[in-house]
C-alpha cells in the first residue's frame, strides 16, 4: 500500500502584503496565511495517487497548533489521511538545514514512505532549496520542479520545464518529488469534507524530539523590492523612422527595462 508524505508550509499571502511607508518593511501581522500554492499542488498529486491505487497521504508541517491547525485541517478536508505538527514557537526562524534535518528525522521516525511529494518552492520565500536538500540527506532519487506528474504501474513519469527545455524522467519509488504550482488545479474541499476533517486529529511532536541542535536565522530586515524604472522616449517624425524606433523599443524590452 502506497504511503506518501507531503510536507506543507504556512505561507504569507504576498498579494495582500502591506508595507510600512516609512521603513519599507512588510506589516506581517495583518497578512493572511494559508498553505503554499505549490504545496497544495503537491498534496493534490499525492491524493490523485491515493485515489487511483489507495494508500495513505500524511501531511507534516513545522509550527504551532494555534497558527497551523487550520492548515492541517484544510489538508485533511482535501483528503489527507493523517498529519503531524512538529511544534515550535520559533518556526519562522529555523534555518533551512535544521528544517531539512527535522523532516529527515520525521521520515525515519514515522516512515518508511514510498514517496515524498512537496511544493517546489514556498509562496513567500521561494528558495526552492528544501526539496533537493531533503532528497540528498535521505539518499533517495529526487526530481525537482515537476510540471506534470503521472503514476502508473508502479512507475512515476515526471515532466519538468527547465531553462533549456522540457525533461521527462521515469523512476520508481522510493523517491522525493517536488512539483510546481503549474502541476494541477488542486481540488476544493466540499462542505462535507470540511465537516469530516473537523473530527480528525493530528499528532504533535516536539521539535526537540526530532533534532538536537536547532539552528536559527534572524531576519534583520525585509524591504519592498522596487523595480527601477526608466523613461525612454523615441520621437518619430516620419514613417521611415518608425521601424527603427520599434526595433529600439524591442531591443530595450529584450534587455529588460
Amino acid at each position: 500500500m502506497m504511503k506518501i508524505l507531503v510536507p506543507i508550509k504556512l505561507c504569507y499571502d504576498v498579494g495582500q502584503m502591506k508595507f510600512d511607508s516609512n521603513t519599507g518593511e512588510p506589516i506581517l501581522d495583518a497578512v493572511p496565511r494559508s498553505m503554499g500554492e505549490a504545496d497544495r499542488c503537491a498534496l493534490e498529486e499525492a491524493l490523485k495517487i491515493k485515489d487511483s491505487i489507495g494508500g495513505e497521504v500524511v501531511v507534516v508541517t513545522i509550527g504551532e497548533a494555534r497558527t497551523h491547525s487550520k492548515m492541517l485541517r484544510d489538508a485533511f478536508a482535501m483528503g489527507a489521511t493523517g498529519g503531524y505538527l512538529v511544534s515550535t514557537g520559533d518556526y519562522d526562524k529555523i534555518d533551512l538545514n535544521t528544517v531539512t534535518m527535522i523532516f529527515k528525522a520525521l521520515v525515519e521516525a514515522t516512515g518508511p514512505y514510498d514517496l515524498i511529494i512537496m511544493g517546489a518552492g514556498s509562496t513567500d520565500t521561494h528558495s526552492s532549496l528544501l526539496p533537493p536538500m531533503l532528497g540528498a540527506k535521505l539518499g533517495i532519487k529526487t526530481v525537482v520542479g515537476i510540471d506534470k506528474l503521472e503514476y502508473a504501474d508502479g512507475e512515476i513519469t515526471a515532466v519538468c520545464t527547465y531553462g533549456d527545455g522540457s525533461y521527462t524522467y521515469k523512476l520508481k519509488p522510493p523517491a522525493l518529488l517536488s512539483v510546481t504550482s503549474e502541476a494541477n488545479l488542486p481540488r476544493i474541499p466540499t462542505i462535507k469534507d470540511i465537516l469530516r476533517a473537523k473530527k480528525m486529529k493530528f499528532e504533535e511532536l516536539s521539535v526537540e524530539s526530532l533534532v538536537e541542535n536547532i539552528g536559527k536565522v534572524d531576519v534583520l530586515g525585509i524591504e519592498k523590492y522596487i523595480v527601477p524604472r526608466k523613461k525612454l522616449i523615441w520621437e518619430v517624425d516620419s514613417e521611415d523612422k518608425l521601424a527603427e524606433a520599434l526595433e529600439n523599443i524591442l531591443s530595450v524590452l529584450r534587455e529588460g527595462v
Binding site: 494559508s34 487550520k70 484544510d74 488545479l185 476544493i188 462542505i191 470540511i194 465537516l195
Partner: protein, 409 residues
Amino acid sequence: MYFEFTEDEEIFRESVEEFSRRYIEPIWVDIDEKNTIPFDLIKKMGEQGLFAIPVSEEYGGMGGSFMMTTIAAEVIAYYDPAVAIAVYMLLNNGWPMALDLYGTDEAKGEILPKVASGDAFFGIASTESHGGSDVAGIKSFAKKEGDVWIANGEKVFISGVREVQELPAGGGWFYLAKTGSLDWGHRNITAFALLPKWNGELKNGFKPTLYEEIGRGGLSSGGFILEDFEIEDKYRIGEENKGFYYVLEGFNIARILVAAACLGSAQWALDQAAEWLKNRKLFNGRRLSSFQGIHFRYAELYAELEAARLFTYRAARLVDKLYMEKDPTLKPRDLNIPVALAKLKAPEAAVRIYEEVLKWYGAYGYMKESNIYRGWLGTFSYVIGAEGAQNIMRLIIARDLLGGEYIRE
C-alpha cells in the same frame, strides 16, 4: 459582542472563495448580460455542496451551519456583485431549511436531495399584486378535497419562475394560500411546497409569466396563475392555518442571507474603489486617495458596511443557536430584531457604497464597461423590498422595542 469564526468556517470561506474565483468571477458579467445562470455552474455548485447547506444530512442536505450558509452568500456575491448567483444560492438554502423545519418527512425526502444536487429549485412564493408586505391580505386560496388541495390564485414578483420550468427535476416554492377563509388576517393561511414541475413533468393548472428586471440579470423573476392546481396533502408545510408563522421564520432566515449577499457585493465595490482611488491621478498628478474628502467618505462607508456585517453575523449565530443547537432559552421571535437590523442596514449600506463609488469613478462609472452599475442595480432590489421592505424592518424593530400594544392605537 466579540466575534470570531471557527476553524471550519474559515476553511469553508476559503473554499468558497476559491470556487468563486475559478467558476463565477470569469463569467459573472456574461451571466448578468445574458440573463441566465448556466446549468453546468448550478450543477458544480451542487457538487461543491453550496445548496441545502443547513439542511440535515438525513434529507440530502450538507449538515452545515447557518453561519456557513451566510458566509457562502457573502463570498459568492463578492465574485458576482450583481448578486444573481448569490440570491439563487441563498434561496436554495433558506427555503429548503424552512421546509426541513416544518415539512413532512415524505416531502423532505423527495424534494431536498434534488435541491441539494442542483437539479431542482426551491424558493418562496408569497407576494401578490396588492403588495408583498401585506402577507395577511393574500387572496390565493386552497380548498381541501380528500387528500388533495385545489389551489387557485395569482402570485407576482417571484424569483425562479424560469428555473423551475428549465431545471431537469423542476422544483417550486414555499407557497402560501388562504385555507380557512378569504378574510384579511394571518390565522387562515397555510404553507405548501408547491411543485409546478416535478421529476421533469410540468403539471396542469400552472400558468407562468416572465418579467424583465433592471438588475440581478442571471436570476429570473416572474409570476404565475394557479387554476385548480392540485397539491397533495403530503406537501402541506406544518399545521393548517399556521403558515403565516412558518413563513415569518423562513423570512427571518432568508433576510440574513440577503443581507450577507449585499455585504459581499458592497465589499467588492469598496475594493474596486480602493484600487481606483490609489491609481487615478489628477490635478497635476495627485492620487484621488490623497484627498481628505475621499478619506472621510471612504471611512464612513466602511464603518456602515462593518456595522451591517456584525449585525448579519450576529443574526446568523442566533439562527444556529436556535435551530441547530436548539438553545432552550431562544424562541423564533428572538430573531426578529437582530434579523431586521441586518436586513435594514446591509442593503442600504450597499446602495450608498455603490452610489459613492460610481461618483468616484466619474464618467467612467456611468459607462457599462465599468460594471459598477450591475452591483448597484442588484443590491437595490433589497432596498426596494425583496425579502421584506425596509419599512417593515423598521416596524418590526419598533414594535418589539416599544411593545405591540403601544403602536396599534
